[in-house]
């Protein structure tokens, strides 16, 4: 922890990830946050241009984007940008997101256990198994959306079998993403107060870090395990 002379303002330079800064833990560097929000921006642009084509129930989204014709033209391009941003995100984060032995079972019993919010495993590192799963899911789903989306984009250049498969797979991939993004947003905001600042200002409180990511907290602060 850096000591500052009494009264001197702390430096406003971008703090290093995984350090203590102004009494808080730095969880995401500016680069991480910019990448995350770039992915999010293009995700929502793709969502708002795609959903009115998916179902007329969401035609109001199409109106927001300037009409269904605009959606048909814009959707593939913002989707390409989404894919590129996702790949950048992958290169930036994949090392942190390696699944370890401790993350096993997250897609199942551990997820149910976690959602009970009854207690927290003190040995969770910077990312828990669920976060890692979401990361890899988002990558694989983005690839699936891209491949099927290219077929739909230039649908008149592909054979009937490929077009039919792409219609179904593009839908399935989107529905999975739709469900996953609801969980992602809920857990990042209302469900776990203090989490959102990790992606806005980049910092989290010590108490938050101790609760949600005990191992990471100890690594960053050098504190011993309690009890």
């Amino acid at each position: 922890m850096t000591d500052f002379a009494a009264g001197a303002a702390p430096p406003r330079t971008a703090p290093q990830e995984n350090t203590v800064w102004n009494g808080k833990l730095v969880r995401h560097s500016a680069a991480s946050r910019v990448i995350h929000w770039t992915v999010a921006l293009f995700f929502f642009l793709a969502l708002f241009t795609g959903m009115p084509i998916w179902s007329p129930i969401f035609s109001w989204m199409g109106n927001l984007m300037g009409g269904l014709h605009v959606c048909r033209w814009l959707h593939p391009w913002v989707a390409c940008a989404f894919f590129v941003a996702t790949i950048v995100m992958w290169t930036h984060w994949h090392a942190d997101m390696k699944m370890t032995e401790a993350d096993r079972g997250w897609f199942g019993p551990k997820l149910i256990e976690y959602l009970k919010f009854s207690g927290e495993d003190p040995n969770v590192g910077k990312y828990n198994g669920g976060q890692k799963l979401f990361f890899w899911f988002a990558l694989l789903d983005a690839i699936l959306l891209l491949l099927t989306g290219i077929v739909l984009w230039f649908s008149t250049s592909f054979g009937a079998g490929l077009r039919e498969a792409s219609i179904l797979l593009h839908d399935v991939a989107f529905i999975l993403f739709g469900v996953a993004i609801v969980a992602h947003i809920y857990l990042g905001t209302a469900a776990e107060p203090g989490t959102f600042t990790a992606m806005s200002r980049g910092t989290v409180s010590k108490a938050w870090a101790r609760l949600h990511h005990g191992k990471w907290y100890r690594e960053v602060t050098g504190e011993e395990k309690r009890r």
Binding site: S55, I57, R72, R163, E164, I167, D171, Y186
Partner: protein, 290 residues
């Protein structure tokens, strides 16, 4: 068509719920009658189609047959297909007029995501409304007859309109008007079917025991009633044997979309429910998160 026809009652409309039908009037379903057995392949119908619909000429393509081009084109909605089929030691030279079949259960309309871009009028004609068409090409995937074509310059889909502009004012389609042999007729579908049955009876007695009317039930019948001398082999004419709206398209629209909607709405409901019952997970320390 520039727009959907004024005064024409719409029976159903793409990507729309019930209520898009514009009237209670029940109009008789119209149909083209095509007797392939007396078609001489003169292509007068092709020319008449291009002329009436003001379609600019398309480059023809010579592939060793009389056929004008390999398949339909966004600016060529009517194409005589020439097929040479060897039957035993003889050869059948089969001609068929290829165009939109105007299905009673149109796969293009089922697959279309743009509200009102494909409409079916009360008289059975299936039409593309370019104002609403977004040129996504999904209608092509829905069509079991491979008819709709993407027009690169306009970015819209295009196909035979069954000359709805003529039909709606009591005129027969341009192709019918041009036919010199009596291959083509136009009228109420019941009348066309009756004529076709009569003609098929004749063919049965004249050495074509397999002659049949092609009005496939898989798509609810079509507003094109085709007489085939070899009715047991529609594929010889380039027609699918038992066409229907692709199962994938039906599954996509009728199962996958509702399931997806429920799944995503369910995720929102689950999140709200979780918040209300389990509640947020907050640090218990005196130190509050920022």
């Amino acid at each position: 068509m520039a727009t959907t026809q004024q005064g024409m009652e719409i029976r159903q409309s793409s990507a729309s719920l019930r209520g898009t039908a514009t009237g209670a009037r029940k109009l008789p379903v119209v149909a083209k009658y095509i007797d392939t057995t007396i078609c001489i392949g003169c292509k007068a119908c092709e020319v008449a189609c291009a002329e009436w619909n003001d379609l600019p000429p398309v480059q023809t393509e010579q592939r060793g047959s009389y056929q004008t081009m390999p398949t339909l084109h966004a600016q060529y909605w009517n194409l005589i297909k020439f097929n040479e089929i060897e039957i035993g030691d003889s050869l059948a030279w089969l001609m068929r007029k290829d165009q939109c079949m105007h299905c009673a259960d149109p796969g293009c309309l089922r697959a279309c995501p743009a509200p009102g871009a494909i409409v079916q009028y009360e008289n059975g004609i299936v039409d593309v409304n370019p104002d609403a068409c977004i040129g996504c090409g999904l209608c092509e995937t829905g069509c079991p007859f491979d008819v709709p074509r993407y027009h690169a310059r306009t970015g819209k889909m295009a196909k035979c309109t069954l000359c709805v502009d003529r039909a709606s004012v009591g005129l027969e389609p341009a192709c019918i008007k041009a036919c010199p042999t009596g291959t083509l007729h136009f009228g109420n579908k019941n009348a066309m079917l009756e004529m076709a049955e009569h003609r098929v009876d004749q063919l049965h007695k004249n050495g074509f025991p397999a002659a049949a009317v092609y009005d496939p039930p898989g798509v609810g019948g079509t507003s094109v009633v085709t007489i085939l001398a070899y009715g047991d082999h529609p594929e010889w004419y380039g027609l699918p044997k038992d066409p229907s709206v692709p199962a994938s398209v039906r599954f996509w629209k009728r199962v996958l979309k509702p399931v997806g909607l429920i799944a995503m709405a369910g995720a929102v409901v689950a999140a709200v429910g979780h918040y209300l019952t389990v509640g947020p997970k907050e640090p218990k320390d005196q130190e509050r998160p920022s």
